[in-house]
């Protein structure tokens, strides 16, 4: 009898506790949403920001960066605790949306990588940084960056994590072997226009007996061509693909038909390993590419790489926008961190010297010109060329900015789906490709009118 009673009461207790756990799980979300304060009444005028007391949450994929920067930040702002959670770029937006929709864990500082930046801005969850308490002045930011960090209404809603002007990384040994020179200035002259680029490409192909080509694939070439056309192509839900893509596609197919492009797909293992094999001359590269692409995939290749401007002008590749969540309860503290890490002279100097990130704040380049002159972490890998200086002096000046749109990721997705077919079937023409592009785009973005 005793045993069954104990058993029964134990079972009863267990079932009641499971029941209560289930109910608690359901109930807590509603409470959180209800207590979210709308205004910033808690945040009165701060006399000394360095004495702010708060816990700020940030989601980032670059753990090393956060660890280093947070330590530096805490030297000046000892009472602001930054909690960094590592979240992958591929499911960042999805996790963010789930978090907001369910009212649970949302970071105060949100990162928008170029792959989903337009969609993030379109969600309208980032605060306007031109207003109080941020009061960010657009004229202090490098000009071409402003469209990349503004939403559809022209308000600046984010800070650029690092400048991402891109040129072509090239193999010095191959350039010297087939063109007789590996000097960036001379190469810039040699490849000043795309026509010259194609000519030189044909020459390279013949001289090397097809063993060395200009670019690894259609995808790489398109990154440059698409990025150079920065005119807006979206007007509300009207998408003008013809004006955006006609010219890049024609150029792209010209290159493909001339035979100067390889057949590799972006990011595939074959593409990654081609860098060390010396099968291709150029790879599109932004400042972060030195670390994540070139030196990562060609670890023994120190000294045999260089950087040159792409034909005609530079283009933007990648980039991440840092914004602050509209309903964050610790906006001041979050802004102090963002300001310190990505805009202030002090933080930018540390950022540049440790990670090679270049701030979008114009003041830094005037006040710390010597930092740019000094050798960077990957300069030796690039044969002693001062990468930061080359980017700032040669590539940035004639770059223009591109307004972001939620259709950017659709465009990328459609391109990624279609370009292997273009590589495989050389009978497809640029016009046919454009028509197919429009068709696929309409399938994916059924609410848009496509021209």
């Amino acid at each position: 009898m005793k045993k069954t009673f104990a058993f029964k009461s134990g079972a009863m207790l267990l079932s009641l506790s499971m029941l209560s756990m289930a109910l608690v799980g359901c109930g807590s979300n509603n409470n959180e949403k209800a207590t979210n304060p709308q205004g910033s009444t808690n945040n009165a005028v701060i006399d000394d920001p360095t004495q702010l007391n708060a816990t700020v949450k940030i989601w980032d994929w670059d753990e090393a960066f956060q660890q280093g920067m947070i330590a530096e930040f805490n030297k000046v702002y000892p009472n602001i605790k930054i909690e960094a959670t590592v979240v992958n770029t591929t499911d960042y937006l999805q996790k963010l949306q789930s978090g907001i929709a369910s009212g649970s864990d949302v970071p105060d500082i949100i990162l928008g990588e170029s792959a989903y930046r337009g969609r993030l801005f379109d969600l309208n969850i980032l605060d306007n940084l031109g207003n109080a308490p941020y009061n960010l002045d657009a004229s202090t930011i490098v000009e071409y960056v402003v469209p990349f960090v503004s939403d559809n209404n022209g308000n600046i809603v984010a800070v650029d994590q690092t400048l991402t002007p891109a040129g072509f990384a090239y193999r010095r040994d191959l350039a010297k072997q087939y063109w007789g020179t590996d000097d960036p200035a001379e190469l810039e002259q040699m490849l000043a226009t795309w026509d010259q680029f194609i000519e030189k490409g044909i020459e390279l192909k013949e001289k090397s007996n097809d063993s060395v080509l200009m670019l690894p694939g259609v995808g790489d070439a398109f990154i440059a061509l698409r990025g150079q056309n920065t005119d807006s192509y979206v007007n509300g839900s009207e998408v003008d693909l013809t004006s955006k893509l006609q010219q890049p596609l024609e150029r792209l197919f010209e290159m493909r038909d001339a035979g100067i492009l390889g057949k590799l797909e972006l990011w595939s293992p074959a593409w990654s390993s081609s860098m060390s094999k010396g099968e291709y001359m150029f790879y599109p590269m932004a400042p972060w590419g030195a670390k994540w692409h070139i030196s990562a995939n060609d670890p023994d290749g120190s000294g045999r790489w260089g950087l040159v401007k792409a034909p005609e002008r530079g283009f933007v590749r990648g980039g991440t926008a840092i914004g602050i969540y509209k309903d964050s309860k610790v906006k001041e503290a979050a802004w102090e961190f963002v300001k310190f890490a990505y805009l202030s002279d002090e933080g930018s100097l540390y950022n540049f010297q440790t990670f090679g990130n270049m701030t979008s704040s114009k003041a830094f380049y005037e006040n710390h010109a010597d930092a740019i002159e000094a050798p960077g972490p990957f300069d030796e890998f690039f044969g002693g060329q001062n990468l930061a200086k080359y980017f700032m002096d040669n590539i940035v000046p004639d770059m223009t900015g591109e307004p972001q749109s939620k259709y950017d990721s659709v465009l990328d997705a459609v391109f990624n789906t279609l370009y292997p077919l273009w590589t495989k079937d050389s009978s497809i023409t640029a016009d046919a490709a454009l028509e197919k592009f429009k068709e696929e785009f309409k399938n994916k973005a059924s609410d848009a009118t496509v021209k």
Partner: protein
């Protein structure tokens, strides 16, 4: 006798309400509550959501059945995803069933090495789909895949065949992945069914002069009918939900957002669903409509297959 009388009086029955009769309900309560909270409620909520247009953050806009109408009449990709899924199911379900049965029969009658074969065959089923996706996309890579290298070396082809970007070969590779993965599972289930067949039936048949093939067709196969029905119906349900294999075959590399394979021939219904809600768009209401349409499809197909297989013989 007296005790029974006491138990049947009105006061006693009121007391009994909280006595032993309540225990079954109380024990079932945790599961039912959890099920209701985490399975049933989301299912009902999704249906309500499918009547709205929502991106997860802004306000919901009621659109009624507009999502369904747009889905079935205007969305060509959705119809294409249904045909793709059905085609791939036709490619892998019969093969898996037949091969699984053959393998099970062969293994069942093995004298030695039975355990070994069973273990080897179940390994693909417990391998994580992500790894399988990577490996298959490496194997069939155009420029550097092992399959192409072998074929070129053995002079079957001049240049590598672009497996992953040809319409039918992409479906074939996905079917291959599914077959490879599920063969062990089907084999195990069939073998479990075979153990229930009494041996004396076989002996009696052998006495009457039946040989291997006749034994199989006249005894084993009919007696496995219930297992076959179970496997077919679950295979159809699982097949309609095909998602892991195609997505991982095409989305393996980081940064690649290729959805649907070449010309959308590998796009399955669930892949379209995930694409609409998380990858290319954030139309949660529209995706809920896709999920519900799939639900209806699964119910219809499993009913048809069940009736077709069990209806004739009466199960």
């Amino acid at each position: 006798m007296l005790a029974e009388n006491k138990l049947n009086t009105p006061t006693a029955s009121r007391k009994r309400k909280w006595g032993p009769r309540m225990w079954p309900y109380l024990f079932a309560l945790p599961f039912v509550v959890t099920y209701a909270a985490f399975q049933l409620y989301p299912v009902l909520y999704s249906f309500i959501l499918s009547l709205y247009d929502w991106n997860g953050i802004s306000d919901r806009v009621f659109v009624g059945l507009d999502n369904y109408i747009q889905l079935w009449t205007k969305d060509k990709l959705f119809i294409k995803s249904i045909t793709n899924t059905l085609i791939m199911m036709l490619m892998f379900i019969p093969i898996t069933l037949i091969l699984g049965l053959a393998l099970a029969y062969w293994t069942f009658n093995l004298v030695r090495g039975k355990q070994f074969i069973q273990t080897i065959n179940i390994l693909p089923y417990i391998t994580t789909p992500v790894a399988i996706g990577f490996i298959f996309s490496y194997l069939f890579d155009w420029q550097t895949g092992l399959v192409n290298l072998l074929l070129v070396k053995l002079d079957f082809l001049q240049e590598g065949y672009y497996w992953l970007q040809e319409e039918w070969s992409s479906r074939a590779i996905i079917a291959l992945m599914v077959i490879w993965r599920n063969l062990g599972y089907f084999m195990i289930i069939f073998m479990a069914g075979m153990t229930t067949i009494p041996q004396d039936v076989y002996e009696a048949a052998k006495v009457d002069g039946a040989t291997g093939f006749t034994l199989f067709t006249k005894i084993t196969f009919p007696l496995l009918k219930n297992i076959s029905i179970f496997l077919v119906v679950t295979a159809i349900i699982g097949g309609l939900q095909l998602f892991d294999e195609p997505k991982l075959l095409y989305g393996g590399w980081s940064g690649s957002t290729q959805v649907g394979g070449p010309n959308n021939t590998a796009l399955t219904i669930i892949w379209k669903f995930v694409d609409e809600s998380f990858i290319s768009n954030t139309r949660l209401g529209y995706s809920s409509a896709i999920a519900y349409s799939l639900f209806v499809l699964i119910v219809v197909f499993s009913l048809i297959s069940f009736r077709a297989m069990a209806g004739k013989g009466g199960g």
